[in-house]
């Protein structure tokens, strides 16, 4: 969204919002397409609820939920026909805003002269439908990393500035969710264009919708919605509040940043290194992990070269490869680097935690390593009379 000083004035419905039925969701996707957006939202593919371009609201995962555990993800049918009663899937919105492969520039030798051409592709205007509050925070974290410092990523900035964010508050957390611990959900924080809360009663399926930006308000004004009744608002708020009590996981109640700094020598790092495959899956599914590497490619003629940026991971040996070999050669050092950055030194670098509590790294780790379990084990170690050196 863009910052609008007069957001309230642009709201057609006041702070109480509007309520609409399933037909409103169908109309929303149509309106997005008519306004030139590329709608992206959840849909069932390959036995999972993935994020993909939507041609219509019919492609939403009505009647599908998920069962999550460490290293395990299964679809399951829901009798209530809800569209958004599922926790985080295999991807976040990261592949759309910060794609796995991006061409930066091309170079050609033309009549003996080197001509370098920067990549200029107008990004699509995405409308993300069904952003969870944890993922909304993750986008804000990546905004800070990729556009908030001295080194802006103009490609990211271009994709991000055009994106419309439609949040759906969380009423169905998974067994691997811990957004409450990280302070990111299940109710939404700021930064959305529209926010919806899904309510499914015995015979009524409806959405409580509020706008958070001028563009969101304009879109909402085009939908078949009416002022929200107090009963719908109350039920929606209760559903979100109940979700907060149904988190499957939690972080130890301690200063995680300090915990990371005090446990660099804990034996637990050897324990987790014995299970970690260093396959990099956790970093790839993490909605905030942002690292990229650069590859220069040439073609057979030697007259054409391209520079690509692609997702990298601190679990890859090459990631820390300097003269003489990798700095972090052991699995222990690589896992520790990831966790201490995510929960600790991210504060020093970017002023916040790098973890939003979505639980994807737990679910999509093939061997089921659990970030909350590892943090809890480190916390237990500090409380068991072990030496706890002051952070240097």
């Amino acid at each position: 969204m863009r910052a609008d000083a007069d957001v309230d004035a642009s709201r057609p419905s006041g702070p109480d919002g509007l309520v609409m039925g399933k037909d409103g969701l169908a109309a929303l996707v149509d309106v997005l397409i008519r306004r030139g957006f590329t709608p992206v939202g959840p849909t069932v593919r390959e036995g999972a609820i993935v994020l993909a371009e939507l041609g219509s609201a019919d492609e939403l995962p009505y009647g599908w939920g998920v069962e999550l555990e460490a290293g395990r993800y299964r679809l399951r049918e829901r009798a209530d026909g809800a569209a958004f009663a599922h926790a985080a899937g295999p991807q976040s919105w990261k592949p759309f805003l910060h794609p796995p492969r991006v061409r930066e520039w091309t170079a050609d030798r033309v009549a003996g002269e080197l001509v370098v051409t920067a990549e200029r592709v107008a990004p699509p205007r995405y409308a993300f439908l069904g952003v969870r509050p944890c993922d909304l925070r993750a986008i804000a974290v990546q905004d800070r990393v990729l556009t908030g410092g001295a080194y802006r990523d103009p490609g990211y900035a271009g994709r991000r500035s055009g994106a419309l964010l439609i949040v759906v508050e969380c009423t169905e957390p998974g067994a691997t969710c811990f957004c409450v611990s990280m302070g990111t959900g299940p109710a939404t924080g700021p930064g959305y264009d529209l926010v919806m809360t899904e309510v499914v009663d015995a015979d009524r399926h409806r959405f409580w919708v509020r706008s958070g930006s001028r563009e969101g308000a304009e879109i909402l004004a085009e939908l078949p919605a009416r002022p929200a009744d107090p009963e719908t608002r109350r039920t929606a708020r209760a559903g979100v509040a109940a979700a907060a009590d149904r988190m499957g996981r939690s972080m130890p109640e301690t200063d995680l940043r300090e915990l990371m700094a005090r446990t660099l020598d804990a034996p637990r790092w050897d324990d987790v290194a014995g299970r970690c495959l260093t396959c990099g899956n956790c970093t790839m599914v993490c909605p905030t992990c942002f690292c990229t590497t650069t590859e220069d490619v040439t073609d057979l003629t030697g007259d054409h070269a391209e520079r690509w940026s692609l997702w990298d991971s601190c679990f890859d040996l090459d990631f820390s490869n300097l003269h003489g070999g990798p700095v972090r050669a052991s699995a222990r050092s690589r896992y520790r680097q990831w966790l201490t950055h995510k929960l600790g030194t991210w504060y020093d670098q970017f002023g916040s935690s790098g973890c939003v509590g979505c639980g994807r790294c737990i679910v999509w780790c093939p061997v089921g390593i659990d970030i909350t379990e590892e943090a809890a084990a480190l916390h237990d170690w500090t409380r068991s009379g072990q030496p706890t050196p002051e952070p240097s």
Binding site: R45, E46, G47, A48, V50, G71, R72, Y73, R74, P90, Q91, P95, P100, R101, G274, R275, C276, L277, T278, C279, G280, N281, M284, V285, E295, D296, V297, T298, D299, L300, T301, G302, L310, W311, S313, D316, L317, D318, A331, V363, W364, C365, P366, V367
Partner: protein
Amino acid sequence: MATRPGPPTDPRPTLAVWKFASCDGCQLTLLDCEDELLGLTERVRIDHFLEMTPVEGAGRERARLQGRGPYDLSLVEGSITTAEDIGRIRHIRRMSRYLVTIGACATAGGIQALRNFADVEDFLAAVYAQPRYIATLSTSTPISAHVPVDFELRGCPIDRRQLIEVVTAYLAGRAPRISGQSVCFECKRRGTTCVTVAHGTPCLGPVTHAGCGALCPVYGRGCYGCFGPSDQPDLPSMVAQLRRDGMSERDIQRVFRTFNAASPEYAPVPDLAAEDRRGPPPA
């Protein structure tokens, strides 16, 4: 760049393709480079390639098994399984400025290295009516066990794009851009849903060398490791996970006993797979 006294008007470096014990699939990958093949022949002179032509050299003479040489870049397919092979690979090494092995046979010994875990005399007696006509070594070994190798390209068969990259890198005088990371990296970059986590399908992706583009998981199958081990594969954790995904000790042993069976990284697998039956090793 050319090192041979060829026609002075032809500045192209020379390329040779060699075959040892193998199925020819990796050599064929070169001919499968349809869009790039004409461009390639403008940049290199294919001097010796029996799969493609019975003649060799600038003079188009009848090709010899040993080649006429010398060559700037030799691509070597297949493993060493006979005494003659050993002499021939040494000869090829001497004639080649750069020697690159292509595929699992040349790089790890291939499926035929299953003989390394059994008695080859038993196989000969079981298969051949007259075993005395067969002269073979008791092992199948990679090219690097016999001569220095400049680069090893993985896969059964190799990936076409990786082959072009190696030849392109050689022509540009730079290192090939080929990563030793796991298949999981390629799988996630493609946006494929993990078949192990979402479907419970056993998959060797976390310990397998990237390069195929995560071809099997894209089609909903588990990786079976045809590119061999990645950098620093964690076999104990992988074997434990395969067991959790329902594989028996025999299944686990067999899934690692394929095209890269003789990879040294896989050596602990039989003991790891047997741990459940025997219990953990004594402390």
